[in-house]
């Protein structure tokens, strides 16, 4: 998911400051498109050196797992951790970077830890399998084998390098500068001796948003030098804000996104009033020209959340041809989102502190590969 972007105009603040204003900025702490336009993924892909998720790869995943690919993979849009866990029957390790939030968002340690636990509850509510999932927060877990790997990684990255990758400056505090190894070492099985002891050759797949790529490019560079396998990555594009691709999804603007804490009334309101429509300005024009699917947010959101391929195709076709109106599409989106959020809230209510403790307990997972 896209990180909350800071004020994009700040050039001298050190974060992303080395990028010229004309270019788009994508790094773990800032995401801004060029000139208030859309994020150019082709440029990103070229710059980061990754590849699009093409058909052949999706087919291959289907062949290896023996089941249809998740909607997100199929639509070349996104990925789904849970799908990957279920389909490949592999353990999932989730890192909550509470230390990072403490440093970058200037929260107290207690507050960061508390928020991390709240995050954990939302994550658990998505339906992860406790017998195959280990969640940890940096403040709780960093130490022993994990820390040893952090030092190994740190030794391989010069100050110059880290400045080049992340754009740190002399004014940044040393906490920030020494943070990257923390996010790098979960790629290595030896960081989790209680899970993978003796299995040093395990390969790691990291699903993340594309703005996290710099951490893992660094990791992939360091890994062979310390005798470890490189992690593989599967990156997602950004989730558009409700007001459209050019808008910024931000925690300070509640109308830029649907929250999992929204009531169905909130959702209806937000979608109807703020979701950017690609429909024409009058019904006559709309019937004549059809909707612009490239910029239409409701249809894009349906692309993420509507599981039924057939229905989605139908909507795209009809709406694009002008036979379906924006109101109908929005209505369907409201239904889908309300259902999703309601289900999430119900599941969230069933997640207790004890359950979070159990997910976060340093315990073996004997059935993680079955």
């Amino acid at each position: 998911m896209a990180e909350e972007p800071k004020n994009g105009d700040a050039v001298g603040s050190g974060v992303g400051g080395r990028e010229a204003d004309e270019e788009q900025v994508v790094n773990p702490w800032e995401v801004t498109a060029k000139d208030g336009g859309k994020i150019d993924y082709d440029k990103l892909i070229e710059k980061f050196g990754c590849q699009r998720l093409e058909e052949p790869l999706v087919r291959r995943v289907e062949r290896l797992t023996g089941r249809p690919a998740h909607v997100f993979l199929r639509r070349g849009v996104f990925f789904a951790h849970r799908y990957l866990q279920d389909a490949f029957k592999v353990p999932l390790v989730i890192q909550l970077t509470d230390d990072e939030k403490c440093m970058w968002k200037n929260l107290t340690v207690e507050e960061s830890k508390r928020l991390a636990r709240e995050n954990a509850k939302d994550i658990i509510a998505c339906g992860f399998d406790i017998t195959r999932t280990f969640i940890f927060s940096d403040f709780n877990y960093v130490g022993s084998a994990f820390y040893e790997n952090m030092v190994k990684v740190a030794k391989c990255v010069t100050f110059n390098k880290v400045v080049g990758i992340f754009g740190f400056t002399n004014e940044d505090h040393i906490g920030k500068i020494s943070f990257p190894p923390v996010q790098a070492v979960p790629s290595f099985p030896s960081s989790f001796p209680h899970l993978f002891s003796g299995k040093d050759n395990l390969r790691c797949l990291i699903p993340c948003a594309i703005d996290q790529d710099p951490y893992f490019r660094m990791t992939r560079d360091v890994a062979p030098r310390i005798g470890y396998q490189k992690p593989a990555l599967i990156e997602s594009s950004f989730f558009p804000a409700l007001q459209g691709e050019t808008g910024k999804m931000s925690a300070s603007d509640p109308n830029s996104a649907i929250y999992v804490t929204d009531s169905s009334k909130d959702i209806k309101n937000k979608v109807n009033r703020y979701a950017f429509s690609g429909g024409q300005d009058s019904i006559e024009n709309h019937r004549k020209y059809g909707a612009n699917l490239e910029v239409d947010i409701p249809v894009k959101y349906l692309g993420f959340f509507l599981e039924d391929d057939v229905e989605l195709d139908h909507i795209r076709k009809e709406y694009g041809a002008g036979r379906m109106l924006t109101g109908e599409v929005k209505k369907r989106l409201i239904e889908v989102l309300s259902e999703l959020v309601e289900r999430h809230q119900r599941a969230r209510a069933a997640v207790t502190d004890e359950m979070v403790d159990a997910f976060m307990a340093v315990r073996p997972l004997p059935h993680m590969f079955s």
Partner: protein, 403 residues
């Protein structure tokens, strides 16, 4: 149904056994076989299916030029002179499930051959590769002796290599040296398996009986492990005891008599010295109610049976959310379909019915999976807590006892 050549080869591949196959026209004799593969450097084998007077069967597999004297073999097996004959052709089909001219140790993969004894020529061990038929006369399989062993062990056999040409004296002071290789008939459950080999070669006659094939040497706890794996509770009893049985003393082993209905282990009560071996995976632990929803009795019963039958990991099976959801959906869907079918029998479009069911399945499955995962996580958490508390208590107790 007997195994086919392809099934056999697939099994070998699964076991990562190296082998080579040579195709040729069907051959019934070693001489004919030699014409096609004799020049390739491997060792041809001659294979006999033999039968004794008690209708027990033996496969003797030897190098083509090993001399086999049936009379000698018969004595060494403890069958007296003339106790061994070539088996009838029908036996090939019935027991080994191979055609004429195709006797091969590999036929032991068939269950019908489970009581057949196997004698292997020790000469195979010094050969780089040995030739056997892989259940068909039209192919010769080239395989090393150690690979053959690997295969035999995988089907639960102990390979026994014997010097087939030896001719030791058999008499009062010299028991038949291969007697242990004769099939024992019904497998017995000894109460304590100590020394299963009833006769051990005395050493200086060049015999190399590696391991007895029928009464394997095995520890009692290993035997228990095996029995549990096939769904049995091992019951150890004092076979020599002779307690009074009467009005005040009911038969103490009555519970060990088969009851007809298959017993689920959690119902096995107290035989005199019955040892429950803690196979917790077979007890029903799962809560029987979803929050606000009851599972149908049919689903529960199926769950129980599933747990008893699976030998892999009962807990993993029972907590396989996808599987459970699929079962519930299938049941619901079938019931639903039947109902609707009844109603729409008179309507024109029979097509609606299956697709409605699909839609329902799709819609409900996802929610159901979610709910069940919630349940699973909650159950795990409760168990985890309980376990933690239990450990804490016992640690504190032992700590305070130390003081």
């Amino acid at each position: 149904m007997g195994y086919t050549k392809d099934q056999l080869l697939a099994r070998l591949k699964e076991l990562q056994i190296d082998f080579v196959c040579y195709d040729h026209p069907a051959v019934l004799t070693v001489e004919a076989q030699a014409k096609y593969v004799g020049h390739l450097g491997g060792a041809l084998s001659k294979n006999l299916l033999l039968k004794d007077k008690k209708h027990r069967y033996y496969v003797v597999s030897a190098l083509a030029n090993t001399n086999i004297d049936l009379k000698v073999l018969s004595q060494r097996l403890g069958l007296g002179k003339g106790g061994l004959r070539m088996a009838a052709e029908e036996a090939l089909q019935e027991i080994l499930q191979v055609p004429l001219g195709c006797v091969t140790p590999l036929a032991l993969i068939n269950d019908s051959a489970r009581d057949v004894s196997l004698l292997l020529d020790q000469g195979f061990k010094s050969q780089q590769s040995c030739y056997f038929h892989p259940l068909t006369n039209e192919v010769t399989l080239s395989i090393s002796a150690s690979s053959l062993d690997k295969f035999l062990i995988s089907i639960g056999r102990q390979p026994s290599y014997v010097d087939l040409e030896a001719n030791p004296a058999v008499g009062k002071d010299n028991p038949p040296d291969l007697a242990s290789l004769a099939p024992s008939g019904v497998p017995t459950l000894p109460d304590k398996v100590e020394n299963a080999v009833t006769c051990i070669p005395t050493g200086n006659d060049g015999l190399t009986v590696k391991k007895p094939t029928k009464l394997a040497a095995i520890s009692a706890s290993s035997l228990d492990k095996f029995l549990i794996s096939i769904g049995r509770q091992p019951s150890y009893v004092d076979l020599e005891a002779n307690p009074a049985v009467g009005k005040d003393n009911p038969p103490d082993l009555a519970s060990l008599a088969p009851s007809g209905v298959p017993t689920l282990p959690d119902k096995v009560e107290n035989a005199v010295t019955c040892i429950p071996t803690g196979n917790d995976g077979l007890t029903v632990k799962k809560p029987t109610k979803l929050a606000g929803e009851a599972k149908s009795p049919a689903a529960l019963q199926k769950e129980k049976l599933q747990k008893v039958q699976s030998s892999i990991d009962p807990l993993a099976e029972a907590t396989n959310i996808e599987k459970l959801v699929k079962e519930i959906m299938d049941k619901t869907s079938t019931a639903f379909l039947n109902e609707v079918a009844e109603i729409t029998k008179n309507l024109n479009d029979p097509q609606i019915v299956p697709s409605v069911s699909d839609v329902v399945k799709r819609r409900v499955s996802s929610d159901l999976e979610h709910m069940m995962m919630s349940l699973k996580n909650a159950a795990y958490t409760q168990g985890f807590q309980a376990g933690f508390q239990a450990t804490l208590r016992s640690s504190l107790q032992s700590l305070s006892m130390q003081k």
